[in-house]
């Protein structure tokens, strides 16, 4: 029997099997950041052991950093303490740190691929659930808790139960104005927030193959939102082209060897998955969420469901109450207060280009504040080089410095209570963007259109597609 992509990569990393069916799995790269690492470093110190393989660890400061005046000391005492603690720990243990002020600083899941650290066939972990992003390269990548961060620091290994495998095949072509973000929001709305629990997902099909690497990262990024341990996509020419020439990419003869190996990373035709789903890309509209988990999404022209249409009327009621929305309501035309473009889901250069292309020569609506937070210093640099910052500023968008920002509101970038924020991030949980904040998840183009219109609008109508109202 053939093997799945997941099995090929996993099997190469199994050190041994232990009682109860758990396996000791070797981890090639370990990303750390300021929020989930301090307790792990303490653990290592308390045990009186050192780091097992410090060269396999890469650190950045992202969750807690301000997105304004990054050259000044951080004002919030606790945030400053956490970021300083990371710096001290990295110095003490000899870890590469792309901290504040470094030209490569940024959101951990943006800088890994950007620097060519993320490569096909690797195992990658980080104390952050959106580590699944790196799966876009045919990498087994997943989020872990702080105890596991400590395990990897101590032994470069994790003790794991092998997850089940799922393949989601998406064939067909996305409509104009519809993006990979819409695609993944659509899939999550179909499978639910627990539909992928215990599984590692492979995304396949012609719609996936035709996507750029950045668009693929958006898909894998949100795998965790349906409960999956991670998502992955078989590497191909698009992947190799993306990696080639990056800082940590293999060079010369090494490159040839790497591509040869990477080219073997696909699911064999006779490989068997524990679960399979199929979707048609052509059926997908621009998506938007109406509720308080990422599974509560609808096509933008659809109506908010009624209690008789959902499995859990209680959850629907609770979340609509929080969101200030009604059952059966149409969202189009609804006034919005904030637009946030950023997070590890959609803050890469392509996302900024999509936004800039649309807002060029236009102005954001009066009632909206619009903030764009690039995923990394390199993205910010590139945007400046291309003159995007000017276009965005002229349109009334505020271009900030890199970090997680309003994705989780650990810094000052919070959405005020009761206000609506259309966001390109990945979570619309209660209070995620600040206590009482009401988040609606969308694609970057939809966010840009809404910023200009001031109200919820169908992006397709603005890119030359006639959508009957």
């Amino acid at each position: 029997m053939g093997k799945t992509l997941f099995e090929k990569v996993w099997n190469r990393h199994v050190v041994s099997e232990v009682d109860g069916g758990q396996e000791i799995v070797y981890i090639d790269r370990h990303f750390i950041h300021e929020v989930t690492s301090p307790q792990a470093f303490d653990g290592i110190r308390n045990r009186g052991i050192g780091l097992f393989r410090k060269d396999r660890i890469v650190a950045t400061a992202d969750h807690n950093v301000p997105t304004k005046d990054q050259h000044l000391p951080i004002k919030d005492f606790l945030s400053k303490h956490q970021v300083d603690t990371l710096t001290r720990n990295c110095e003490e243990f000899g870890i590469d740190l792309y901290g504040l002020g470094h030209p490569f600083q940024g959101i951990v899941h943006v800088i890994g691929p950007e620097l060519g650290i993320t490569k096909p066939g690797m195992t990658i972990v980080c104390g952050d659930s959106h580590t699944s992003t790196h799966g876009a390269f045919g990498t087994i990548a997943f989020g872990i808790g702080t105890s596991q961060v400590e395990q990897v620091m101590a032994t470069q290994c994790l003790l794991l139960q092998r997850p089940k495998t799922m393949r989601i095949t998406i064939d067909g072509t996305l409509q104009k104005g519809v993006f990979s973000k819409d695609l993944i929001l659509y899939i999550i709305s179909k499978l639910g927030t627990a539909g992928g629990t215990r599984y590692f997902v492979e995304y396949a099909g012609s719609a996936i193959r035709s996507l750029s690497m950045e668009a693929r990262m958006t898909i894998c990024n949100m795998s965790i939102e349906m409960g999956a341990r991670g998502g992955m996509i078989a590497p191909d020419e698009t992947t190799f082209d993306y990696i080639k020439g990056r800082k940590h990419a293999p060079k010369g003869e090494q490159w040839e060897k790497a591509v040869e190996y990477w080219s073997s990373l696909f699911s064999d035709e006779d490989a068997v998955f524990d679960a399979e789903f199929n979707f048609d890309a052509g059926e997908i509209e621009p998506m938007i969420t109406y509720g308080t988990n990422p599974g509560m999404g609808i096509g933008i022209t659809q109506k908010v469901p009624t209690s008789s249409q959902v499995a859990s009327p209680e959850s629907l009621k609770k979340s609509l109450e929080y969101m200030g929305l009604n059952e059966g309501e149409t969202l189009i035309g609804k006034s919005i207060d904030h637009v946030f473009i950023g997070s590890c889901t959609n803050s890469r250069i392509e996302d900024l280009r999509i936004v800039a292309e649309f807002v060029k020569g236009k102005k954001k609506a009066e009632n909206v504040t619009a903030m764009i937070v690039p995923g990394s210093k390199q993205v910010e640099e590139q945007a400046r080089k291309e003159g995007l910052h000017q276009i965005l500023e002229e349109a009334g968008f505020e271009l900030r410095e890199p970090g997680c920002s309003a994705c989780l509101g650990m810094n000052d970038d919070k959405i005020p209570k009761g206000e609506y924020c259309v966001s390109t991030s990945n979570r619309n949980f209660e209070g995620r963007q600040g206590p009482g904040a009401r988040t609606m998840l969308v694609s970057p183009l939809t966010a840009a259109v809404i910023a200009v219109e001031g109200k919820i609008s169908d992006a397709r109508n603005f890119v030359g597609v006639e959508v009957p109202a």
Partner: protein, 197 residues
Amino acid sequence: MEKFGILESTVVPIKVKDIDTDQIIPARFLKATSREGFGENLFRDWRFDEQGNPKPDFVLNSARYSGSILVADENFGCGSSREHAAWALVDYGFRAVVSSYFADIFKGNALNNGLLPVQVSPEFLKEIFKHTEENPQQYLLINLPDQTISISETEFSEQFEINSYKKMCMLNGYDDIDFLLSKKADIEAFEKQHIEF
């Protein structure tokens, strides 16, 4: 890590599905660099209003319910991987969480902190909610060695699953690091033949 054997306690029921870790401990409380003190902010925004006053309708503020077992509806612990969620529950005083479904990362984090996640059938979960609503003094009995959970002094009892290695760890208060450290020679041998591109 504290050892876990047999636990008998009244319960705190939260009849909400898909409780994500942002609710268990909101991000703005993740700025600490130690593991202690997170219990204060457990379920912060459900538990307190903006002024920090307890919201009377939330179960942790109700005089009716107390105990070291939290019972929650399906898909508990989804969302962020923050282990702070498990630390907050343990710090508050919970020793076990019962639900009909757990998110993966949360489950692992709980087990690594001596907090036992007990997955029961949806029917059994309903019974627990029913019994505890009728009688908040109702005890639950969780027997890890036998892998059973029962509603005390009723006929309701169920087996639950736990990985045998994890069970051994919980019973003895061991953690994975001790175990992995004992395998260092194997790991070094693995590295010798492991090619990475």
